[in-house]
């Protein structure tokens, strides 16, 4: 178990959803190697699609920049260990 603590960099998500995001990330890091960003991202996205409906997007890595449009209240960007995590639901998925 990685003992690292997640640090929220930016978000507009409800608190409970934030906690779920960080829990999913920790879970993914237990299951997959830290180099396997794709599997980590896939794990988190599927968790969110299951819990909060389809259309979630997830980017994981140590070197990336991006620009996107997201639905209101569905965005979080945080760091955990050496990785950065971006999770959001696309703008086209109106709730």
């Amino acid at each position: 178990m990685l003992e690292g603590k997640a640090v929220i960099e930016d978000t507009d998500m409800p608190d409970k959803m934030q906690i779920q995001a960080m829990a999913s990330a920790s879970e993914a890091l237990d299951l997959y190697d830290v180099f396997d960003c794709t599997s980590i991202a896939a794990h988190i996205k599927k968790e969110f699609d299951t819990k909060y409906g389809s259309g979630w997007q997830c980017v994981v890595g140590s070197s990336f920049g991006c620009f996107f449009t997201h639905s209101k209240g569905t965005f979080v960007y945080f760091t955990l260990e050496t990785l950065n995590f971006l999770i959001f639901k696309g703008a086209s998925y109106l709730i």
Partner: protein, 112 residues
Amino acid sequence: MLEGKAVVRETDMPEGMQSYVMELAHQALDAHEVSDCQSIAHFIKQKLDEAYGPAWNSVVGKDFGSCITHLCGSFIFFRVEMMEFLIFKDGKNFTESREEAIGVLQKARNCD
């Protein structure tokens, strides 16, 4: 001017759109520092929103993995020099969307 040629890793975009996106990538790399991934991503997303309607998403970098859901016919993952580009558009309904898991696979990570 980066002379590098774009190498498409994966896409379901029409040819014309592919060419346009890669042209935007070259323009962005000319206009911005190669280390400024966010401005590069911003430039590309903005141009695509204007050309093909909102809402495009753009991820640029050297080291990332992702899992996305995109509208069919509007997804491309390619490389120019050392940079990887993931460009996609959200779908309005699930029957027109597809899930993709893509990333830059490395055997070892450079910690510099």
